[in-house]
C-alpha cells in the first residue's frame, strides 16, 4: 500500500504578481513571494525600492492594481477584516498616541482587536518597558517608542507579522531587543515579513531574503545560499612578515588547499583569518547595480 506524500502547508502569505502605481509612477511591479508559518522573510532594499508600498498592500491600506494577495488562506482586500484580526503590523513611522500612556495604547488596540482579558503588563515586560507602563508615550525615548510599537503589533498574538523597518535608527540595545522579539515570534509560529535596508539585520534574522529594487524583486533565497552562490570559496589569511604583511587568499576547492592553509596557520604572527564569502550588500550591488543606502 502506498501512502501519498503530505502536501506542504499553505504559506501564511502568498503574493502573486502584484503591481501598484502612484499615478503614473510605478512603485511595485510584478512582485511575487510567499512566507511560511514560522518563517522570517527579509525584504532588503534601499529607500524607495517599494518595500513600504508592498507592506501597505498587505495591510489593506492600498489595493494592488493587479495581482493577488492571499494571507492565512484568505484574500486581501476581499477578506480584509478577517485577515486583520490575525495580523500584527509595526509601521515605519512611530504612530502612537503620545498623550496616552504605554498601558493605554496597548489596551486601546487590544480592545480594537476585541482581545478578551488582555493584560498589558506581561507584554510590556517582554519589551522591557514594564517600569514605564504608566508614563505618557510623549515622555518615551525613540527606542522605547519603537519597542512599544512592537508590543502593540503583538497584542492580538498575530499569525502574520508585518514589520516595516522595525529597528531603523535605533540604538544597539533597543535593536537587539527588537530582533530577539522577532525571533521569538517566528519560533511561536508567526509568519514574519521584515522590511529593512540593514544588511546585517536581514542576514542574522531572516530565513530567506528578497532583494527588491525599483519595485521589482531581483532574487529570493536563503542568505547562506546567496553568499555561497556569489562569494568565493576561499580563506584570506594575513600574517606579519617582517615589517610587511603577507596576505594570502587560499581557494578551498583545490587539491593542496588543506596543506596551504596549514602552512599559513603555522606562521607565528597571524593577524586575521576570514572566509571570502560575499556579504549580502555585495550581492545586492551585483544584482541591482547600486548599494543599499
Amino acid at each position: 500500500m502506498s501512502t501519498s506524500p503530505t502536501p506542504p502547508p499553505a504559506p501564511s502569505i502568498d503574493v502573486e504578481g502584484i503591481r501598484f502605481s502612484y499615478g503614473d509612477t510605478p512603485a511595485v511591479d510584478d512582485v511575487s513571494f510567499s512566507v511560511a508559518a514560522g518563517e522570517i522573510l527579509g525584504f532588503l532594499g534601499p529607500n524607495g525600492a517599494g518595500k513600504s508600498t508592498t507592506i501597505k498592500m498587505l495591510t489593506g491600506q492600498l489595493t494592488p492594481d493587479a495581482g493577488s494577495i492571499e494571507m492565512l488562506g484568505m484574500n486581501m482586500p476581499g477578506e480584509r477584516q478577517q485577515i486583520q484580526e490575525r495580523l500584527g503590523v509595526c509601521f515605519e513611522e512611530k504612530n502612537l498616541y503620545l498623550s496616552m500612556t504605554g498601558r493605554e495604547n496597548l489596551v486601546f488596540f487590544a480592545k480594537l482587536f476585541e482581545v478578551k482579558d488582555f493584560e498589558p503588563e506581561p507584554m510590556m515586560e517582554r519589551v522591557g518597558l514594564s517600569a514605564r507602563l504608566d508614563d505618557r508615550v510623549s515622555e518615551y525615548s525613540k527606542g522605547m517608542r519603537q519597542r512599544l510599537m512592537m508590543a502593540r503589533a503583538l497584542v492580538n498574538t498575530p499569525d502574520v507579522l508585518l514589520l516595516d523597518e522595525p529597528t531603523d535608527g535605533l540604538d544597539p540595545v533597543s535593536a537587539i531587543a527588537i530582533r530577539d522579539l522577532i525571533s521569538q515570534e517566528a519560533e511561536r509560529g508567526a509568519a514574519v515579513l521584515l522590511t529593512t535596508h540593514d544588511m546585517h539585520e536581514a542576514d542574522t534574522l531572516s530565513n530567506r531574503v528578497a532583494f527588491i529594487n525599483q519595485g521589482s524583486i531581483l532574487t529570493i533565497d536563503t542568505p547562506e545560499a546567496l553568499k555561497l552562490a556569489h562569494g568565493q570559496r576561499a580563506v584570506r589569511i594575513r600574517t606579519r612578515d617582517g615589517d610587511g604583511i603577507d596576505d594570502q587568499v587560499i581557494p578551498l576547492d583545490e587539491a593542496d588547499s588543506a596543506e596551504r592553509i596549514q602552512t599559513a596557520m603555522s606562521a607565528d604572527d597571524i593577524m586575521t583569518i576570514h572566509t571570502e564569502e560575499a556579504t549580502l550588500e555585495d550581492i545586492f550591488v551585483e544584482y541591482a547595480g547600486r548599494g543599499l543606502a
Binding site: G60, Q61, E93, N95, L96, S99, M100, F108, E114
Partner: protein, 360 residues
C-alpha cells in the same frame, strides 16, 4: 458598523480631549466667561427718554418727576441752567437733552410772542431725538398760548410682525444666539484639531490596520464631534436660560447645529497640517458661520446673502423660539434649512475625511 469598536475610539477621543490643556482651557474659559458676560448684560431695555428742564414754573402744563414717565418720555427738573447743562454734558441719570425755559417764557408764550428757548443736546444725539424734544417745546408754547396745534391728526399704528413696543428685546436676549454659536465654533476647532493630529501622527493608519473599518472610524469621529459640541452648547444653554421657552425645540435646534459644525470640523481637520494650519482652515469656516449671529444683534431683516449662510437657520430658529416664542410650525422653515445644511456639511465632511485617510 461595530458599536464596540466605535465606542472604544470615542472613549479614546474623550480621553485625549480631556488631557489637552488647550482644549480644556478654552472650553472652561468659554463657559465661565461667556456665562458671566451674559448675566452682566442688561435684561431689559429702558425706552424712556429723559429730558432735563431748568424751569419748574410751568405748572401742570409740563409736570416733572416720575408721574411724567408715560409713553416713554420723562421730564427731570434742575434748579438752574448750569446744573442742567452739566447734566446733559455728563449724561447724568440718562438725560439726553436739556431745555432751558427763560423766566419770561410763560408770559411771552401766553401773549402770543416768540420766546427764546435754549435746547442743550449732547454731541452725537440722534436727529430724531432732537426733533422730538423741539416738538415738546412747541407743544408747551401752544398749550401756554391757549391755542391748538395747527393740525391734530388721529394716528392709528399698525404693527407688522411682533409688536415689541414696551417689550424691546434686551441685549442679553440678543446675545444668546451669538454665544451659542461661538461655543459651537470653539468645539469645531477642537474636533478639527483632534482629527488633524490623528492624521498628522498617522495613528489612524494604525487603527485601520486593525479590524476597524473606515466607516467605524468615521462614525466614531462624527458621534464624538456631535456629542462634544452638543454637550457643551447644551450646558451653556442651560446656564444662560436658553431652554426657558420650548425646551424640546431648542434641544432639536442645538442638536442640528452640532451636526452642522461637526461636518465643518471634519473638513477643517482633514486639511489641517498642524495646529496653526488647522486653526487657519477652521477660521475660514468660523468667520462666515458667525455672521448670522452678529446679524441678530441688529434690527431689521438680514440680507439675502446672510440668509443663505449655513448657520442662518440656527440663529433664526433660536431667536424665533427664545425671543418670539414661535411654535414648531412657525420655525419649521428655519429648522428644515438648518437640517439640510447640517446633513450636507456632515456628509461632505465624512467624504473628505474618508478620502484624506485613504491617501495616507
Amino acid at each position: 458598523m461595530n458599536g464596540s469598536r466605535i465606542g472604544t475610539i470615542m472613549r479614546k477621543d474623550v480621553s485625549e480631549f480631556a488631557r489637552n490643556p488647550f482644549f480644556v482651557f478654552i472650553t472652561l474659559m468659554v463657559l465661565v466667561a461667556w456665562v458671566a458676560v451674559f448675566w452682566f448684560l442688561p435684561t431689559s431695555v429702558d425706552e424712556t427718554i429723559r429730558v432735563g428742564v431748568s424751569q419748574t414754573d410751568l405748572g401742570a402744563l409740563l409736570p416733572v418727576g416720575d408721574q411724567t414717565e408715560v409713553a416713554g418720555f420723562a421730564l427731570v427738573s434742575f434748579p438752574d441752567e448750569d446744573e442742567l447743562r452739566n447734566a446733559v454734558e455728563q449724561g447724568e441719570d440718562g438725560i439726553v437733552a436739556g431745555i432751558d425755559f427763560p423766566p419770561e417764557f410763560v408770559a411771552s408764550a401766553a401773549g402770543g410772542g416768540n420766546p427764546r428757548v435754549v435746547l442743550y443736546v449732547p454731541a452725537g444725539i440722534p436727529a430724531e431725538q432732537q426733533t422730538m424734544v423741539e416738538g415738546v417745546i412747541g407743544e408747551a408754547a401752544y398749550a401756554l398760548a391757549g391755542i391748538p396745534p395747527p393740525v391734530n391728526p388721529i394716528t392709528e399704528a399698525v404693527v407688522l410682525g411682533t409688536d415689541r413696543v414696551g417689550d424691546q428685546v434686551s441685549l442679553q436676549a440678543q446675545m444668546r444666539p451669538l454665544l451659542l454659536i461661538m461655543v459651537l465654533m470653539v468645539e469645531t476647532f477642537a474636533l478639527s484639531s483632534l482629527i488633524a493630529v490623528e492624521i498628522q501622527q498617522r495613528t489612524v493608519v494604525a487603527v485601520l490596520a486593525t479590524p476597524v473599518r473606515v466607516v467605524d472610524f468615521l462614525a466614531a469621529k462624527g458621534i464624538f464631534g456631535i456629542g462634544l459640541a452638543f454637550s457643551e452648547v447644551a450646558l451653556l444653554g442651560l446656564l444662560i436660560g436658553a431652554f426657558a421657552v420650548n425646551a424640546p425645540a431648542i434641544v432639536v435646534i442645538l442638536l442640528l447645529g452640532s451636526v452642522l459644525v461637526t461636518g465643518f470640523g471634519m473638513i477643517a481637520g482633514s486639511y489641517g497640517r498642524d495646529f496653526m494650519g488647522t486653526l487657519m482652515v477652521a477660521m475660514l469656516f468660523m468667520i462666515p458661520l458667525m455672521i448670522p449671529a452678529f446679524g441678530a444683534l441688529f434690527p431689521g431683516s438680514a440680507p439675502t446673502w446672510i440668509q443663505l449662510l449655513p448657520t442662518y437657520g440656527l440663529v433664526e430658529a433660536v431667536v424665533r423660539v427664545s425671543v418670539d416664542g414661535d411654535s414648531w410650525r412657525q420655525i419649521a422653515p428655519a429648522l428644515l434649512m438648518l437640517a439640510g445644511w447640517g446633513l450636507a456639511a456632515f456628509a461632505t465632511g465624512a467624504f473628505i475625511l474618508r478620502r484624506r485617510v485613504a491617501m495616507l
